[in-house]
């Protein structure tokens, strides 16, 4: 039984050269050849190389980006452009209304101190809060004698709040240059033009007195019972205090423990009204031997009384 179909024609030309033969053999290879080509085999192996994947995905873009940025920045004009743009943006942001300080509010300052504090502000309001150096301003405010401490804070709503703690004068210091008010640490507060300006404050004088204000205050607090009579304290020879009372009386206090000596004087005064008597000096410099100096009249009277008493005793003794 013969097949009715015709035999296929010979389509291929007879082999001519070896090159043509090899090309033909390549063409004759099965089309669905599972073998990878040499190139794809090598690429696959390259892909499987450890580190290659991360190098391609991460390090190559990083390198390209870095190089392009570096190239762009190598030009002077570009660097200047970037710097200018940066400054402009910074300026814009800093000058936004949210950051502007429009008002300065000073609390806890007397009118005179208030004026001095307001002068510290370097530029006219409103100003951006980025331009205010609060720390420097605070230091500058604390330079003012009357200001003990200052606290600066930029509050919402563009308010610069300044809390001032003023120094409280506790004593008047009289020196050659004039009278000055000192606070309890001995720091200058203000100049006093007349004693009547602050008649309530005690007075101290003498060279080096301003450096021993706490001690003076302790002595003064011990002298409370005779406070009405105290004219002031004098620092003698930069080592010890004299209490000057009216009627030119003086209490000479020792270098050591002047407060104890003052209390002792007050005890003597309370018991025997010592200071009410005709005494010029109460010398307590030597604690073992307190000494009184009497006025000349009192001294004469004392002598007279002592001699009469002596004759009386002699008479009595006879």
């Amino acid at each position: 039984m013969q097949s009715l179909r015709a035999e296929p024609r010979l389509t291929r030309a007879p082999r001519a050269t070896t090159a043509a033969a090899s090309a033909e053999r390549r063409a004759a290879a099965p089309r669905n050849d599972p073998a990878p080509s040499r190139l794809s085999y090598r690429l696959e192996r390259l892909r499987l190389t450890p580190g290659f994947h991360s190098a391609l995905r991460v390090w190559l873009p990083v390198f390209v980006l870095g190089v392009s940025v570096a190239l762009w920045f190598s030009s002077e004009d570009h660097r200047a452009d970037v710097a200018a743009k940066y400054a402009q943006i910074k300026e814009q942001v800093q000058n936004r209304p949210e950051f502007m300080v429009a008002l300065m509010q000073v609390d806890g300052a007397s009118p005179a101190v208030d004026g001095a504090v307001r002068k510290v502000m370097p530029m006219a309001l409103p100003v951006s809060s980025f331009k205010l150096d609060l720390e420097a301003m605070r230091a500058q405010m604390e330079q003012i004698d009357a200001v003990k401490s200052a606290e600066l804070r930029v509050q919402s709503g563009g308010i610069l709040r300044v809390n001032i703690t003023e120094r409280v004068p506790v004593v008047i210091w009289r020196s050659d240059a004039g009278m000055e008010l000192l606070d309890d640490t001995g720091h200058r507060v203000a100049t006093l033009l007349s004693r009547e300006g602050r008649a309530d404050l005690p007075l101290i004088a003498g060279q080096g007195a301003e450096t021993h204000v706490p001690e003076a205050m302790a002595i003064l607090s011990a002298l409370t019972p005779v406070m009405k009579r105290v004219r002031g304290l004098v620092y003698m020879g930069e080592r010890r205090w004299d209490v000057v009372l009216d009627r030119d009386q003086r209490i000479l206090l020792p270098e050591k423990d002047p407060v104890v000596a003052a209390e002792r004087a007050m005890a003597l005064n309370g018991a025997q009204d010592l200071l009410g008597r005709d005494v010029v000096d109460v010398d307590l410099r030597n604690a073992a031997r307190p000494t009184l100096r009497l006025t000349p009249t009192a001294l004469a009277e004392l002598r007279q009384k002592q001699s009469g008493q002596a004759t009386q005793t002699k008479v009595a003794g006879q």
């Binding site: 039984m1 097949s3 179909r5 050849d33 599972p34 073998a35 990878p36 040499r38 085999y41 090598r42 696959e44 192996r45 499987l48 190389t49 450890p50």
Partner: protein
């Protein structure tokens, strides 16, 4: 020979380097398939209390990639068309790499054909009552009188099988012993140079470094003979597609290897010729219906052959299974007869245990063990390769005996000639090592 000797040393270094990198590929270039397995070495596992390891100490590596492709351009286990083989190797390697997701640079290959020929060598040196040192072993190996195996032959394996000292024989490791005469028995396997060079060229074309080369008969013996069979004497018959490898083991050393240049492909071609069907159909019929022992049932079991010639008579042919067996059996018998001749030549009947293990793809023909027992002897069993970690289920059959054997070979190669020290007097005259030896001898 010196070239290959140096090359083998270089390959051992390459293998060590690959072990340090942790990844190595094995490539079984066979006639019917090319298998590529990618091994990952994790180092020795942590010791157990009883001092044993799991999987008989084979667990230090794991197969992370496996690929098989139909081989092309290979006949009788030798490369016939270089381009085709190279493409097939590339296919297998790329697929295995893809599965392992790692690049492999080192490959250990085996080949089944190339006319292997075994030689037994003996060497002897005087010791004069000294302790046996590493140098002495190098010297005794060098003292073996190498037979003239002719032009175009290369040494593929050279195993020192047995050391003997004076009257004591069977020493595995004579180092440190004291004696008068040290002698060694060595098994040398040579193969055809051309076949090896073709394989080297193909592997080089695939950008791979060769880290070892083995005979397929040897490695399938390693994987499919169990320990006591290797110890007491057994033959492994690896029935492949184009060639059938025979290797004889005793005391865990191969003492003989050869190959029959016939295999499963010849059975297929017989079926193709006998039934007048294309090779692909013949292979399919052989796989599904093949056998070597006919029973009465087989006369009634009809197999549709089919064709697409357009002729109804031709396309609806049928053949009984008995006829198919009648075609297959003579060829299988022929192969086994040849194997038997080889075993007779090798003196296999002198071994204490004459176990025969059939493995390889063609050993899966039903009834083969009965036929082989009739031809080769009583102790015949079908062997499968050892189970190794990570091996896909599809690659656990007897057809992968040499692939698995190569894995074991890669992990624990047996000491070969080139693993020992080169004797000092073989070094060039001005070598530093030679000067060292002179100092040692004189002081």
């Amino acid at each position: 020979m010196t070239d290959l000797y140096q090359a083998q040393r270089a390959m051992r270094n390459m293998r060590r380097a690959a072990m340090q990198r942790g990844v190595i590929a094995i490539l079984d270039v066979g006639t019917s398939k090319i298998a590529c397995l990618v091994l990952r070495f994790d180092g020795p596992e942590e010791g157990r209390e009883d001092g044993l390891g799991s999987l008989a100490g084979q667990s230090q590596f794991r197969i992370i990639g496996a690929a098989t492709t139909m081989s092309r351009g290979i006949r009788f286990g030798e490369i016939d068309a270089m381009q085709e083989t190279e493409r097939a190797i590339r296919t297998a390697v790329q697929a295995a790499q893809k599965m392992a997701n790692v690049r492999v640079d080192h490959v250990i290959a085996c080949l089944s054909g190339a006319f292997p020929r075994s030689y037994g060598l003996a060497g002897e040196i005087p010791l004069d009552g000294a302790q046996v040192s590493e140098q002495d072993i190098g010297r005794v190996l060098a003292a073996c009188d190498v037979p003239d195996f002719g032009q175009g032959r290369e040494v593929l394996h050279a195993h020192p099988v047995n050391f003997s000292l004076d009257h004591r024989s069977g020493l595995a490791d004579p180092r440190g012993h004291v004696g008068q005469r040290l002698s060694v028995d060595m098994h040398l396997l040579t193969v055809d140079t051309g076949a090896i060079q073709n394989l080297l060229y193909c592997i080089k074309r695939c950008d791979l470094e060769l880290a070892g080369l083995a005979s397929s008969a040897y490695v399938s013996g390693i994987s499919s003979l169990v320990e006591d069979e290797q110890e007491l004497g057994a033959a492994c018959i690896d029935m492949g597609g184009g060639s059938t490898g025979v290797s004889v083991f005793i005391k865990k050393h191969m003492i003989f290897a050869d190959s029959v240049r016939m295999g499963g492909d010849h059975v297929t071609s017989d079926i193709s010729k006998g039934l007048q069907v294309p090779l692909a159909t013949a292979e399919r019929i052989k796989t599904f219906h093949g056998g070597v022992v006919a029973t009465g049932m087989d006369d009634r079991e009809m197999i549709g052959i089919g064709a697409d010639s357009g002729d109804w008579e031709k396309d609806s042919r049928k053949v009984s299974r008995a006829e198919l067996i009648g075609i297959m059996r003579p060829r299988v018998e022929e192969i086994l007869e040849e194997v038997r001749e080889m075993l007779d030549v090798a003196g296999f009947d002198q071994l204490p245990s004459r176990q025969i293990v059939l493995t390889g793809g063609a050993s899966q023909i039903p009834g083969l063990d009965g036929l082989a027992a009739r031809i080769l002897g009583r102790n015949v069993r079908l062997g499968r390769p050892l189970r190794v970690q990570g091996l896909p289920q599809a690659a656990t059959g007897p057809g992968f005996a040499s692939s698995v054997g190569l894995c074991l070979f890669a992990a624990h190669p047996q000491d070969e000639w080139w693993d020992f020290e080169i004797p000092a007097d073989r070094y060039p005259a001005r070598s530093l090592r030679r000067a060292m030896k002179w100092f040692k001898d004189n002081w």
